[in-house]
């Protein structure tokens, strides 16, 4: 099934940051989304559970975008947001949005493959709400 939320995230990111070259702004938005995912899932599957899914997503996404490859060992206790931001900050705008969106898509698809689309949608319903309903990017900055 198509991961509608991740597609929405990609479209929304592209729209919001259209013509903007501020990589840090985009990286912050992406990290913020991952923090929302962590907040939504951590109580239910534990921080190690979220970290394991995140690590797997990074690994899969790095096949398309090698810059997402991580040197972390596979036994992380929690998502390393600092490391994520560092990876993102090293990219150009377009690659950043495409790679960042693919990472979300892979994560959603992974979760869907494990617990199905309806539960995934239910668990992550609140994620991105801020991005979708918040003020436009220029005011956001």
């Amino acid at each position: 099934m198509e991961s509608s939320i991740s597609n929405r995230i990609e479209i929304e990111l592209a729209r919001r940051f259209e013509d903007r070259m501020d990589v840090e702004l985009i990286a912050n938005a992406l990290v913020s989304l991952w923090q929302e995912i962590d907040t939504a899932l951590r109580p239910i599957i534990g921080q190690r559970g979220v970290a394991a899914l995140y690590q797997r997503s990074l690994h899969l996404a790095s096949r398309t975008y090698p810059w997402l490859a991580t040197s972390h060992d596979g036994n992380q206790i929690s998502i390393d947001f600092v490391h994520l931001k560092m990876l993102l900050m090293q990219q150009q705008r377009d690659g950043l949005i495409a790679g960042g969106s693919l990472l979300f898509k892979i994560f959603y698809d992974l979760l869907i493959s494990l617990v199905g689309p309806s539960l995934t949608e239910r668990l992550l319903r609140s994620v991105g709400a801020h991005l979708f309903s918040g003020p436009p990017a220029q005011d956001y900055a």
């Binding site: 239910i44 534990g46 190690r48 617990v115 309806s118 539960l119 239910r122 319903r125």
Partner: protein, 499 residues
């Protein structure tokens, strides 16, 4: 004025469980769901939770160590009761793995209390509780620490007005586990393996303040979740009205009604015992066909090895036309309680008046080996439960043809039934011929004649009494030489005598 506290009993939503519990689950009780791995503890907990949780009565499900929550959610959502929409609304899952891994039970308890304070749940589940105990790495006596933990948890949950469930793997109930003392209720799930079959059983070992149904009760896990087969006595609304001989029903086999003293009294149970090929099933089909002709609905519980090939055309037509409902369970863990429940449901659904069980011998083979030891007792319960509904029951029973031993059924079930017809093969003039007789019709006159019968496309054709043979049932019949005309050598006892 009655000042006693009224304990509200919650309907668990698990078919059969409320009956076994003795009327539902006491609100604010502190319960243990125990049993070995794979016995259905987590499924039972989820089924109860999804049935009971509402926005006004929310549930918290704490996962500790053991089964990863993702796996649990993955598998539990396969059940019909699982509703993704209520997650994070009336049902919240909370993972305590990080707290448990720290090895400090106080921290686990604190986290539980924090979450309970935040969400004010009416239902709390802790899965698995055993892993909480294992997570404790303090140096004190593990039993004391665990007991203290459980007591605190129990006290807190009761004060917070939460009905609580601890789910845990316990292999032996003899283990003097302090949890057992503290718990208000203990629901024990088991798996009984005998030969190639596995039967799931549930036992309410303890439920404070209410009369539970003692003993082991069979249950099955299907896509709808657990279904518990409560014993028939509690499942059936037993009416104690005895069957009367005033109303008699036709058997659908010509001349058989006459042998029975005017038909079979309505509400009676009739056993037809005979060797293989003697026409028991044909007689049973005629019984159902006669019912259909009179506008009555029938039910047949068939236990042939090859149902489609073995079933006769009359019966197939009756089933196809909707006059007869077929109960044909081939589950390897089939219990008598389950089949009785199926029959009672069908009787209720169709308002059926005639029930056939064909045959008891096949039934015995169909039930899981673990139930065969108690087959006779269970059969008695089944006959009682069916009789209580007022239906007329016809059961067939395979009878080994032993000429040295006059039997009516291999289970000593003859006493259970109100009426018995026996069929035998006899040798007369170097031919194998069929005989039948009515052995018993409780509180009614009936024939005691040995009648010869034949089987053709129309069914059983009952002939006359065999008048010139003696010792038929012994297998060594002798021809009686008729004396001079005007007298008879046979003892023509005729119909109308009492049993």
């Amino acid at each position: 004025m009655n000042t006693k506290v009224v304990i509200n009993r919650l309907a668990t939503g698990v078919p059969g469980l409320d009956e076994v519990l003795g009327g539902g689950l006491p609100e604010y009780s502190f319960n243990l769901i125990a049993g070995p791995p794979g016995c259905g503890k987590t499924t039972l907990a989820h089924q109860i939770m999804f049935a009971l949780a509402t926005r006004e009565r929310p549930a918290l499900y704490f996962t500790v160590l053991g089964e990863p929550p993702l796996k649990m959610l993955r598998y539990q959502q396969q059940f019909d009761f699982f509703d993704s929409e209520v997650i994070n609304q009336s049902i919240r899952f909370i993972n305590l793995a990080d707290d448990a891994l720290a090895g400090n039970l106080d921290q686990v308890l604190r986290r539980i209390v924090t979450e309970v304070e935040t969400h004010s749940p009416a239902l709390v589940f802790v899965d698995s509780f055993r892993s909480v105990a294992l997570a404790n790495n303090s140096t004190g006596n593990p039993h004391n620490i665990l007991q203290q933990f459980v007591q605190e948890l129990g006290m807190l949950m009761t004060s917070w007005q939460a009905t609580t469930f601890l789910i845990g793997e316990y292999f032996t109930e003899s283990d003097p586990n302090p949890v057992f003392t503290v718990a208000d209720g203990i629901i024990w799930l088991r798996q009984s393996v005998e030969r190639n079959s596995m039967v799931r059983k549930i036992e309410i070992m303890k439920m404070r303040g209410q009369p539970t149904l003692p003993g082991l009760h069979t249950f099955r896990i299907a896509s709808s979740g657990l279904e518990i087969f409560a014993p028939v006595r509690s499942a059936a609304a037993v009416s104690e009205q005895p069957a009367s001989t005033d109303t008699r029903i036709a058997m659908g086999t010509p001349r058989l009604d006459e042998m029975l003293g005017g038909g079979l009294p309505s509400g009676y149970s009739l056993l037809i015992a005979g060797p293989s090929g003697s026409g028991k099933s044909i007689l049973a089909s005629s019984f159902l066909a006669e019912g259909a002709r009179c506008g009555e609905k029938g039910i047949i519980a068939a236990f042939e090895q090859r149902p489609n090939r073995a079933r006769n055309r009359t019966l197939t037509n009756l089933i196809d036309a909707g006059h007869v409902s077929l109960v044909d369970s081939r589950a390897p863990d089939l219990s008598i309680d389950e089949i009785v429940l199926q029959l009672l449901n069908e009787i209720d659904r169709l308002k059926a008046t005639r029930v056939v069980i064909d045959s008891l011998s096949g039934f015995e083979l169909a039930v899981a080996p673990t139930f065969r030891t108690d087959f006779r007792e269970s059969l008695a319960r089944m006959v009682t439960a069916l009789a209580a509904t007022g239906v007329t029951v016809l059961m067939t029973s395979e009878l080994e043809d032993r000429y040295t031993d006059l039997r009516f059924s291999p289970y000593g079930t003859a006493f259970l039934t109100d009426a018995i017809i026996v069929q035998r093969y006899v040798e007369i003039d170097s031919r194998l011929r069929r005989m039948m007789a009515v052995v018993k019709v409780r509180a009614s006159a009936h024939s005691n004649e040995l009648r010869e019968y034949q089987i053709d496309d129309a069914g059983l054709l009952i002939g006359d009494i065999v008048t010139n043979q003696d010792g038929l049932l012994s297998g060594r019949s002798t021809k009686i030489t008729l004396p001079a005309a005007g007298s008879t050598a046979t003892d023509s006892r005729g119909s109308g005598s009492m049993p």
